[in-house]
């Protein structure tokens, strides 16, 4: 039996760099993060590069990081979820109302919150797989629906911090701080880091994780290869909803109270983190760790510009420019496959 041979083509310098970025989706965001840290250490002076300030940045990105983790699963599957923040706030309202206002045991409050988040994600999944709605439209609708449900269930009332401390202090658990060498980290920050580690494992080392990529890469091909894509999508949106509920618990600790009006644009911040982190909006490409890096990049820019005394509007300007640069980069990197 003689071997069948196919030709290889030689590869040039820029193309090799493009391929490197293509095969290592976290390389580009990681470089941006390191460069921006170095740059702000010079621009913003020594107040920026202290353990305290760095830990503050991590605290500030905790909630958006968790939402970004949920959003990453969905964007990897070639979808988008505009309702993540609404699911999160609804879940936190369910936890707060049941645990504090209705005074039920905390376990029931938390379970109800997680159930609410998962149910919202499941509903998104149903709309997308059964009614065949585009994810953008389905979740644009549910964003408003969940926000309205949240106002209805909360009666547009904030659950106050003092009441939580008195009746259900566990709800604020993830806001508690631990000091290490001048750094101030919350349990929520550790939870976020642990969540990213867990999702990294799931996406890279389990069949479910590989199928998330497969469905996002080419749904028809995945079906022909024997994956039940619709079932996969349903599970992805449900898991994302569950992660949003977890974010809701962390958000209570971060804010100190349960406010139905909080994080109204959290979905956009989460998408920003995912995109700057190098995930392709076309699905199937990217890394969960990129989202963590993307969230940190946004945090570093905001903090650095603030300490350097730059007006808030230029912070927004910079984040916008970062998004555009990241998507342009993705377009270029994806040309490798052409």
């Amino acid at each position: 039996m003689h071997p069948v041979r196919f030709d290889h083509h030689p590869v040039g310098g820029i193309l090799r760099f493009q391929r490197f970025l293509h095969s290592k989706p976290t390389a580009a965001p990681l470089m941006v993060l390191l460069l921006s840290l170095i740059a702000f250490a010079f621009i913003a002076g020594e107040r920026f590069f202290t353990p305290f300030n760095i830990s503050l940045i991590i605290q500030q990105v905790t909630v958006i990081g968790i939402l970004g983790a949920a959003q990453t699963l969905i964007i990897l599957s070639a979808g988008i979820d505009l309702s993540v923040a609404a699911i999160m706030v609804l879940s936190s309202v369910v936890m707060g109302r049941i645990g504090v206002v209705y005074g039920l045991p905390i376990e029931i409050a938390l379970l109800a919150g997680f159930a609410a988040g998962s149910a919202c994600g499941f509903l998104n999944g149903l709309l997308i797989t059964r009614l065949r709605l585009p994810p953008f439209i389905a979740t644009l609708g549910t964003w408003s629906v969940f926000f309205a449900l949240n106002l209805w269930f909360s009666e547009a009332q904030t659950v106050r911090s003092a009441d939580i401390d008195r009746l259900a202090p566990v709800l604020k658990f993830f806001g508690e701080r631990v000091g290490i060498f001048g750094a101030q980290l919350t349990y929520g920050s550790f939870l976020m880091l642990g969540l990213f580690a867990l999702l990294w494992y799931v996406l890279n080392w389990t069949a479910w994780g590989r199928r998330v990529y497969a469905v996002g890469d080419d749904k028809e091909a995945a079906d022909l290869a024997g994956i039940r894509s619709d079932r996969m999508l349903l599970s992805i949106y449900t898991v994302a909803g569950l992660i949003c509920a977890l974010g809701g618990w962390v958000a209570i600790g971060r804010l100190g109270s349960v406010s139905p009006q909080s994080f109204y644009e959290g979905n956009l911040d989460a998408i920003t983190a995912v995109v700057i982190g190098g995930c392709s909006l076309f699905g199937g490409r990217g890394s969960i760790l990129g989202t963590l890096i993307g969230a940190l990049i946004v945090g570093v820019f905001r903090s650095g510009l603030k300490i350097a005394g730059v007006d808030v509007l230029w912070q927004e300007f910079t984040v916008g420019a970062l998004i555009i640069a990241a998507v342009a980069m993705d377009q270029w990197i994806r040309k490798v496959s052409a």
Binding site: M1, H2, P3, V4, R5, F6, D7, H8, H9, R19, H22, S23, Y201, W205, T206, A207, W208, R210, R211, Y213, A214, D217, D218, E220, A221, A222, L224, A225, G226, I227, G284, R285, V336, S337
Partner: protein
């Protein structure tokens, strides 16, 4: 013909008033390459989809190794040992060669980490993938962790064929495997098809490319108006006669219908 591995009798499939399969018969013998040829719209793909589980026939019977089967989905056909290499290959470009080969039938680590942590046994999957690629002579694919999109068209076809061969225990169906390829890569895929046959796995080859069909096929199933109108021996007929029979320009030679 050697004893049939896969056979079908009296298959019928209607879509409204359109009859895609009209009392269609089919036999694939052990260890042979059976080419299926037919004009566009003759109903080849409906027949192939019925055999691979993608279409459920309205009437008729399909037997695999003499046992009647009724596939409800491609997944069931795959479980029974019938693998299909689709024309679009059904590969995921962003995933690695290994991930593609094992998509939907991943191997998990033994013991606790496999059972409870659901961890994939990447080493084992790499080993099996490498073994299969090497056996079929796809030696030039060095890095089986590279993404499929970095491969050439012929290499991708090779990966899809190897995947089918690695898991197809009874039959491999190939839909236009050379259609998207250049001359040289097309030749190599034909070599690959022969190698698969030489390993004892029978192949159903759907192709429009008559030179390719006559080069590798042991028998040719001619499909016309939703049914088999002839089975030809490529050493008996020439290419232009086969095309004439296929298009209805000449009558097929008398057929001795094998008893089921």
């Amino acid at each position: 013909m050697s004893p049939p591995v896969l056979q079908a009798q009296g298959l019928v499939k209607r879509y409204g008033h359109v009859v895609a399969m009209d009392d269609c018969d089919f036999e694939l013998g052990a260890g042979e390459i059976l080419a299926v040829i037919g004009d566009n719209g003759a109903g080849k793909s409906t027949l192939i989809k019925a055999l691979s589980g993608a279409v459920i026939p309205d009437a008729g019977e399909i037997r695999l190794d003499g046992r009647t089967v009724a596939f409800q989905s491609p997944i069931e056909a795959r479980r029974a040992g019938i693998e299909t290499v689709y024309q679009n290959l059904a590969l995921l470009p962003a995933l690695s060669i290994v991930d593609n080969m094992f998509l939907g039938r991943e191997i998990r680590s033994p013991g606790f980490i496999g059972k409870w942590l659901r961890r994939l046994d990447r080493e084992e999957m790499r080993k099996v993938a490498r073994k299969n690629l090497t056996e079929l002579g796809l030696l030039t694919i060095q890095d089986i962790d590279q993404a499929v999109e970095t491969l050439s068209g012929g290499q991708r076809q090779g990966v899809a064929v190897v995947r089918a061969v690695a898991f197809g225990s009874k039959v491999v169906i190939m839909d236009e495997p050379t259609a998207a390829l250049g001359v040289r890569e097309g030749r190599r895929v034909l070599d690959l098809i022969r190698q698969v046959r030489d390993r004892g796995l029978p192949i159903v080859l759907i192709s429009h490319n008559m030179p390719h069909v006559f080069e590798v096929a042991d028998r040719i199933h001619v499909h016309r108006l939703g049914k088999r109108i002839a089975t030809l021996d490529p050493t008996d007929v020439d290419m232009s006669d086969a095309v004439a029979i296929m298009t209805g320009a000449i009558e097929p030679p008398p057929q001795d219908k094998p008893a089921l």
